[in-house]
């Protein structure tokens, strides 16, 4: 297709076509064995197209492609238009989403084989990819909201994939409700922006308008904070992170795709996309930074003593997302390109190594017949050599082992926080504190990641008794994505940024970032490698890994020195935060609900009384419809006379 925007439409619609095809296959007999084909073909084609677009990007004028808008609906001043916008930021996300989803789709073929609802799984996964691409591409806040909710719906359907299991159903409900809490803020924020921006809803138009007509500081801060609510819910940040660990009830590839690599990064992407707005509001930005920093440390702490491998990975996802928010929270104090590129870089590398970690965990789970509790197995490195190697690559990247992808992206975030603490006029001290917190988080990350690694793969072999002899490496269709992602997790970071600066040069062309740069005073940023940061984080990672090795390399779980025991207990009980939520929020809400129920029943009685009234009037009116045509004619004439009297009275008044 010659028109580049046509290519973008094709990328968007391919997964939708895949979803529809897979859904149509559901009743067919071969749907149980072939339903994966539409999703994988669609995602792979979309990925190819995205890469094609990436290579052709230099020829695009102004660094942005806008589709011809058409009006979806309009009421009064509200014009909601369907329009897509592609810039370097969106294209990077698009490429990541389609590539990772192709890998995970392939892995699912082996993982989900023989499951009930095989076609349903692939239909919803494909629909998810469509929604995620739409979310990235939408150039209208309401369209964005539509895809945002569709993504949430797919997440709900996939967490509750094993819907006969009550815990899965409850987890799906929890995820849906908690993210919805944030979405309320998001919708309000959109409406506020609509009002602030001269009744426009297109993202580009809103940015242009707000940068030329700057609204009062409080209003733009409020709007940004409301948008941030939505981002916090979707990206599982404090205090709304509680749904993500429970979301691990879904099949593991779902956790890898939706709850690690793509959907949960939607909030990060939203804030990055709205960088021109956040640049206008230092308060919203510093709030983002604190939320991110707190979440990163808190989730890293909670991950320390978990025994469920997937739960460890889930908390680590929350923690890493916190890093990304922290990077975004330096926007304004440092040049916007640095802040957004740091977040985006970590987003990309995290997508690779976390998807790899989840798929490796899935491979373990597949081999062990669904068992994922670290207390029940260990020493798997001989039985599952490939999985072991892949998990090691992912864990090393996550822990920040030098030269792997996670190392470089984390360093960039630390660099941006350091720059912020030096340059921020108002919040320098705050950023310094945040820097210390993020360094501590880096140490904890290395520790808990390798704790999980050692417990699962080192020491003497421990297997559940019923599985002796059955444990073996999975088929090639599951191994291939693991290897691809492992290569990405090891090498992508070094290739993308520190030596080539390809990513930063590419993303810096994004018009929104250039717009954001016009309102901040921070000096421009030159990409370079900061060797001080690199050496500090190397030391931290080495310390964390060494600690974990010292404590757990024997592979025997939970033999802790007495000093650490209370800390680990606290972490294992998740700081009693769920209990606090239960006592502070859920109990009062239940009490309120009970009161409301009583009040509602009283109202209901009253309303039943009221509702009976029309019925009684109706009984009385029905007498008049007696079927006599003479009476009907008389009634009509009487009505006419009444109307005439009304007119005559009106005249004589």
């Amino acid at each position: 297709m010659s028109e580049p925007i046509g290519l973008v439409w094709l990328i968007l619609l391919l997964p939708l076509a895949g979803a529809v095809t897979a859904a149509l296959l559901t009743p067919a007999r071969f749907g149980r064995t072939l339903a994966h084909v539409p999703m994988i073909v669609a995602c792979a084609c979309a990925a190819l197209l995205a890469v094609t677009l990436l290579t052709q990007w230099e020829r695009i004028p102004q660094g942005q492609l806008l589709s011809e808008p058409w009006t979806w609906f309009a009421a009064g001043r509200l014009h909601v238009r369907v329009s897509l916008a592609v810039d370097a930021l969106a294209l990077t996300m698009l490429t990541m989403i389609t590539v990772v989803s192709s890998c995970i789709g392939l892995f699912s073929v082996g993982y989900m084989a023989g499951e009930r609802g095989y076609a349903r799984y692939f239909a919803v996964m494909s629909l998810f990819v469509f929604a995620m691409c739409g979310l990235v591409l939408a150039n209208n806040f309401f369209l964005l909201l539509g895809f945002w909710e569709l993504v949430g719906l797919c997440s709900y359907l996939l967490i509750g994939y094993y819907f006969v299991r009550p815990s899965a159903a409850a987890a799906a409900r929890k995820a849906f409700l908690v993210t919805r809490l944030g979405d309320v803020g998001f919708v309000l924020g959109i409406f506020w922006l609509w009002k602030l921006s001269g009744w426009q809803t297109d993202l580009t138009a809103v940015f242009d308008h707000l940068l030329t007509h700057q609204p009062p500081q409080e209003e733009i801060t409020a709007a940004c904070l409301l948008l941030l609510c939505g981002a916090v819910g979707k990206s599982a940040q404090f205090p709304l992170y509680v749904w993500l660990p429970d979301a691990m009830e879904g099949p593991t590839p779902v956790s890898a795709l939706i709850h690690a690599a793509t959907m949960v990064t939607a909030g990060v992407y939203l804030v990055g996309r709205c960088a021109p707005l956040f640049a206008l509001s230092p308060t919203a930005v510093i709030t983002t930074a604190w939320l991110g920093g707190l979440t990163a440390l808190l989730a890293a702490f909670l991950a320390l003593a978990q025994t469920d491998l997937k739960r460890i990975l889930a908390y680590s996802t929350v923690s890493q997302l916190g890093y990304m928010f922290l990077a975004l929270g330096t926007l304004g104090a440092v040049h916007p390109t640095l802040a957004v590129i740091a977040a985006l870089f970590h987003l990309l590398t995290h997508a690779l190594f976390k998807a790899l970690l989840f798929l490796s965990a899935g491979s373990v789970m597949h081999a062990l017949g669904g068992i994922i509790d670290l207390r029940q197995f260990g020493g798997l490195r001989h039985r599952l050599p490939l999985t072991h190697l892949c998990f090691l690559c992912g864990a090393a990247a996550l822990a920040g082992v030098p030269l792997l992808s996670g190392f470089w992206s984390k360093d960039l975030i630390l660099e941006s926080v350091i720059a912020a603490s030096e340059q921020s006029p108002a919040y320098g001290g705050g950023y310094y504190l945040l820097l210390l917190m993020s360094l501590l988080t880096a140490l904890l990350t290395a520790f808990y990641t390798f704790r999980a690694y050692f417990l699962a793969f080192w020491g003497p072999e421990r297997l559940p008794p019923q599985l002796q002899g059955h444990v073996h490496e999975a088929s090639a269709v599951m191994s291939l994505p693991l290897v691809v992602l492992a290569i990405g997790a090891v090498g992508a970071g070094a290739i993308l940024e520190p030596f080539t600066h390809a990513l930063s040069q590419f993303v810096a062309t994004t018009p929104a970032l250039q717009q954001a740069a016009t309102v901040v005073t921070a000096p421009a940023w030159q990409p370079h490698i900061d060797w001080t940061v690199a050496s500090i984080s190397t030391v931290l990672a080495a310390t964390g890994i060494a600690l974990a090795a010292g404590l757990f390399a024997r592979g025997e779980p939970e033999q802790l020195p007495a000093v650490l025991a209370p800390v680990m207990t606290l972490s294992q009980r998740e700081l009693y935060i769920e209990a606090v939520y239960r006592a502070v929020l859920i109990r009062p809400a239940e009490g309120l609900a009970f009161l409301a129920k009583v009040a509602d029943q009283a109202w209901d009685g009253l309303l039943h009384l009221l509702a009976a009234l029309p019925g009684m009037i109706g009984q009385w009116l029905r007498v008049m419809h007696n079927g006599l045509v003479q009476f009907y004619a008389l009634a009509m004439m009487l009505g006419l006379v009444v109307l005439m009297i009304f007119v005559v009275l009106g005249l004589s008044r």
Binding site: T71, P614, L621, H625, V629, M644, V647, G650
Partner: protein, 530 residues
């Protein structure tokens, strides 16, 4: 004085004939049907001939577009965007009705049935083009008279005879009242031409507006109210709906209302060339009467529908209620004539009244035709489905038709993502934001919107009860398991349109807004000066 040629340089009938060729094609087909129907009367043959006639009329209407008329003031017919919209609505309704009525057309009287149907359609199309009171009257009667025949044609039983007779008697009475009103209007204005009539009446200062003109307006309104089933002129509806054949009732529920509202809009100036200058502005008591009629109609219709166990009576009352909602459009349009220029400019992008009414009419046609398509598909010559209990369990026994009926009922409730929702939304917003000279008046309009919203909530009760019956109850006795391909296909098309225009309303809205342009702020300014 001959009213057809009342001015010097008047248009002859011949010179305006080219504006009504599609209608002439329809009536020519009718002549064929009546002439040769007695020779060989078969449903498939005459159905095909009617289809050909309709398609021919469409081809003519689509391909032959005579320019605007030089002597529009004096010609008996004329053309504008609204006239075209009405004609296309009539022709497309014709296609829908051919599919919808197929099972109930008696083979032995097929030619007569289709003849009456096409006459009626020609009448509807002519109502949009009528430029004087006489043409308007003739066009309206072209709708009424075939209906008398149609009501009795398919199933000739004592009950249908009674229904046809009732409709005939009351309709004739109402036509007489209307004609009486027309004569007063003619007497006051001195012309039968609608543009002259509205211009003359609107130039009279309101305080000396002739009582005769007001009486004429009320009489004409009363006559049209019969067609619109406004309370208290609605009494025939439940009886006729209950006894008549479903397809004909579908016609009766939609087309006379369409014609009636168009006629009312033309007569009261809402749909004239300049809707800012009305013969009966809110200063006269006519809009207040419309307000009262609207409230009365929707409330009485909904209340009576609440306790109905007869499906057809329920639909009759529901159609009464919908007329009440639609009449709001007229109230809003009247309000716009006295909007202060500043207000008009400030809220110009909002609803103008008649555009909302037209949208609602089209949406109402979609969903009502849909409901009756399902009903005709369930009826047999020996038994018509009437008691609600007969539909119990239809969601399982007839899944496709059950789903379609649910879609139409949801649209009648006004659920989002259906055309009915958009229509109600436009009308309610229009009433809520209607401009008013005094705060009391504006409170009246807002009150109208609130009453209508309460009514819509009440109406949801009986529609939802019906949906509940479809899906939640066990069948009492099985419905006929007969395939009715044509009505079902028609219903599928209508359901798709209902959902489509509910999700993406812009095309239909643009058509309505083109046919009924809102008064331009400049024009409003002009009229606000004495």
């Amino acid at each position: 004085m001959n009213p057809w040629y009342d001015d010097a340089g008047a248009a002859t009938l011949g010179s305006v004939f080219r504006y009504v060729i599609p209608e002439a094609v329809l009536l020519g087909t009718v002549c064929l049907l009546f002439l040769f129907g007695c020779v060989y009367n078969r449903r498939w043959l005459w159905g095909c001939v009617s289809l050909l006639g309709l398609v021919g009329a469409m081809l003519v209407a689509g391909l032959y577009r005579p320019g605007s008329m030089a002597v529009a003031e004096t010609a008996p017919v004329f053309t504008d965007a609204l006239a075209d919209l009405v004609r296309w609505t009539a022709l497309l309704s014709g296609l829908v009705l051919l599919g919808l009525t197929w099972p109930e057309v008696p083979s032995s009287r097929a030619a007569e049935y289709y003849g009456c149907l096409l006459t009626l359609l020609a009448g509807v199309a002519l109502v949009g083009r009528a430029n004087d009171l006489l043409t308007l009257f003739v066009a309206l009667e072209l709708i009424s008279i075939p209906t008398y025949v149609l009501l009795y044609l398919p199933y000739r039983s004592a009950t249908t005879r009674e229904a046809a007779l009732k409709y005939f008697l009351l309709s004739v009475a109402s036509s007489a009242v209307m004609l009486f009103g027309f004569s007063y209007l003619y007497g006051v204005a001195g012309s039968l031409k609608l543009p002259v009539l509205t211009a003359t009446l609107s130039q009279l200062p309101t305080d000396v507006l002739s009582p005769l003109a007001l009486l004429g307006a009320i009489l004409a309104l009363a006559g049209l109210s019969f067609r619109l089933t406004l309370v208290p002129f609605h009494f025939y509806a439940p009886d006729v709906y209950q006894a008549g054949p479903a397809g004909v009732i579908g016609v009766l529920a939609v087309l006379p209302k369409l014609a009636g509202f168009i006629a009312l809009g033309r007569l009261f100036g809402w749909l004239s060339a300049n809707p800012a200058v009305l013969p009966f502005p809110p200063a006269t008591s006519v809009p207040s009467i419309l307000w009262i009629l609207a409230v009365l109609t929707m409330t009485v219709g909904n209340i009576l529908a609440l306790r109905q166990n007869s499906l057809r009576r329920l639909l009759a009352y529901s159609s009464v209620a919908h007329s009440g909602y639609m009449l709001m459009g007229g109230v809003i349009a009247s309000a716009w004539s006295e909007a202060p220029a500043a207000t008009a400019a400030a809220i110009a992008p909002l609803v103008g009244g008649m555009d909302a009414l037209l949208f609602y009419l089209l949406a109402y046609a979609l969903m009502t035709f849909g409901v009756f398509a399902i009903l005709t598909s369930l009826d047999t010559p020996d038994h018509t489905v009437d008691n609600i209990d007969e539909l119990a369990g239809m969601g399982r026994s007839h899944p496709v038709r059950g789903l379609l009926l649910t879609i139409f009922l949801l649209s009648l409730i006004g659920m989002p993502f259906t055309a009915g929702f958009v229509g109600k939304f436009l009308l309610f917003v229009g009433a809520f934001t209607a401009p008013a000279a005094h705060p009391e008046l504006s409170r009246l309009y807002q009150g109208l919107a609130i009453i209508a919203a309460v009514n819509a909530a009440v109406a949801a009760v009986y529609y939802l009860r019906l949906i509940g019956v479809l899906y939640l109850r066990e069948p009492v006795r099985p419905l006929p398991r007969r395939w009715a391909i044509l009505p079902t296909l028609t219903a599928i098309v209508l359901a798709i349109a209902t959902v489509l225009f509910g999700t993406y309303a812009q095309p239909l809205l643009q058509v309505s807004q083109k046919a009924a342009p809102r008064p331009a702020p400049a024009a409003v300014q002009h009229s606000s000066q004495p």
